[in-house]
Symmetry: C2
């Protein structure tokens, strides 16, 4: 496939956002004398008395966590969004603002402080999937909640301040920018073809088999053609589902399995607990129909060359647009060849 294009500087088009990304494949050999991150490979204790997420511990808010044994969700003590914000709009010349309502939650994936998703049993990850489904349905059904963003910040370099395995859910009244961009492109494609944009894309990727990382009965994990982050990946359900609420028992199991496999690949890449932000993009909960949407989960990991050297999205990226050095194909090739077993586990 078009090697001349792939080996030289080029731009790739993101079919979901309509934006371009600059790829500079010849630049991988650049020496790095800049900032390095801490290597983080020691596994912590399974209970930490000073951790505000461990079972039975008291949080800064004064509340005490139950002795939970399954995934546990609670309202964020420092929520960025609040349910009772009074309605208000400002339209003063060129200043435009409006009050925003929302609910922010924290989801502890496991009572065990020392774990991360790749180290959890598939059955336990499945419980996290079920928790996400419950929260998506519950938050989505509340008044004024029109979008539910499920995400995880993993690792200190991704602004995560506590290694206890957990994610977050921020739900709110307006539809966020990223969702609006994707909605537009899903819709345009649907109107023209009456098919899911992502289902067609998945079909093409499966035929080409150049960026597929791992697949099972119900899900495929791949590096999208337009990936921004060095080892960015996307998990796509084979079935054209609009949201995670549509997953049946078997699909939940498949989803849990593929999350485990992908995150093991990540950890094995640099033999470190791989940092990333992950998130699920799915339909708004405003009661409208979005037949064009195809839910998916994306992983944006910052590491570039080793456990300590990350990609900086700075000057050019902030002012012009994203840029990457290794191609999506190079990233996929590297990840695919890694052993299936987690590097910390004995044979």
């Amino acid at each position: 496939m078009s090697n001349e294009l792939n080996n030289n500087p080029h731009r790739r088009y993101n079919i979901l956002t309509g934006e371009w990304i600059l790829v500079s494949p010849h630049r991988t050999k650049r020496p790095w004398q800049g900032k390095t991150e801490k290597h983080n490979s020691e596994k912590g204790p399974d209970y930490d008395p000073s951790c505000y997420l461990c079972p039975g511990n008291t949080r800064t808010s004064g509340e005490t966590n139950p002795d939970y044994t399954e995934p546990f969700a609670f309202t964020n003590d420092f929520s960025a969004l609040l349910p009772d914000t009074p309605e208000k709009k400002l339209n003063d010349g060129l200043l435009k603002a409006e009050a925003e309502k929302g609910i922010c939650k924290v989801v502890c994936f496991s009572p065990d402080h020392s774990l991360t998703l790749p180290l959890m049993k598939t059955g336990d990850i499945k419980k996290v999937v079920k928790m996400w489904k419950r929260e998506y349905a519950d938050l989505g059904s509340r008044e004024n909640i029109n979008y539910v963003q499920i995400f995880e910040n993993k690792g200190a370099v991704m602004g995560c301040s506590n290694p206890h395995p957990h994610g977050q859910i921020w739900s709110q009244s307006s539809i966020p920018t990223e969702i609006q961009k994707k909605s537009k492109h899903f819709k345009e494609y649907w109107q023209e073809n009456k098919r899911s944009l992502l289902a067609d894309y998945l079909k093409q990727e499966l035929e080409l088999d150049e960026r597929i990382l791992v697949q099972n009965e119900h899900f495929v994990a791949l590096i999208p053609y337009w990936a921004v982050w060095p080892y960015e990946a996307m998990i796509i359900p084979r079935e054209h589902h609009q949201h995670i609420g549509q997953l049946n028992e078997e699909e939940e199991q498949s989803f849990a399995e593929i999350i485990k496999k992908l995150t093991i690949m990540y950890d094995n890449l640099f033999e470190t607990s791989f940092p990333y932000s992950s998130g699920i993009h799915q339909i708004p909960t405003n009661g409208k129909e979005y037949p064009e949407w195809h839910f998916h989960m994306s992983f944006y990991p910052p590491l570039l060359r080793s456990a300590t050297v990350k990609k900086f999205m700075v000057g050019y990226e902030m002012f012009a647009g994203p840029q990457r050095d290794i191609t999506a194909e190079m990233a996929a090739n590297t990840l695919k060849q890694l052993p299936e077993k987690h590097y910390t586990k004995e044979v």
Copy 2:
């Protein structure tokens, strides 16, 4: 002004990009137990024999820097873009890509390794402004160069691998995403009002005087109403110029002065050499007319609460949209009250 709105979670609209940003002013008191950055306050030597940007030193490419005494620009030894990339397009089902040509340069602001913009003399910053003008004109006039992005990554936390005062210029054949977004909004406003969107915005800000940081005869520095980064700022020329090439001698001087004043404020805020990425947004160099455009320079600094605690743009920000904790007004108030003299200088 609408305090109820400002004290509660709300969204603000960016008139230049058409995107919204979430503001959570009640969240500033959140404790921080996460990652901290190195405090960087020692001034280095004025010449470093191992620095590849110091005058007379040899770079990894084998080239030797001249004994420059004025700002010095050269082609980046690890350019992300190259001038001779062969033309090529891919349009294969849902994969879309095209070759990209460009030229990347490094601009050393000063021969003195120990300096930064806030520590340089205004006259010497003016020489940097003149260098930017020259490069914008020269690169912009080359075949296949339709946009010239001038930027600086300052500080290790912003991916800068060398403290020698320098910026970069990446110029390329296509118009980057961020410029396209702004073009759209400048144009819509122009078509409706036959006035510059940014000139009208500046007028309103000057009347309100809530977010103005510093001003002089030809320029104003302010925190935009829709600022994303905690202490994000923007320098706007009073005159409706489309690009820096239009600055006369006096305006160059004014521009240099306000850059110095703003960056001194930044350094004084946490008494550290303040990291940021800055960039100039101006019209494409494709020969088309863009009467609606109003050039400006923006600063995106990551520090939030101290020299060591930065804002992380991660999970929610990546998957939904930008979020900030302190309001633009709080940030402006804090910066405005700082002494005018650089904290390292004796009275």
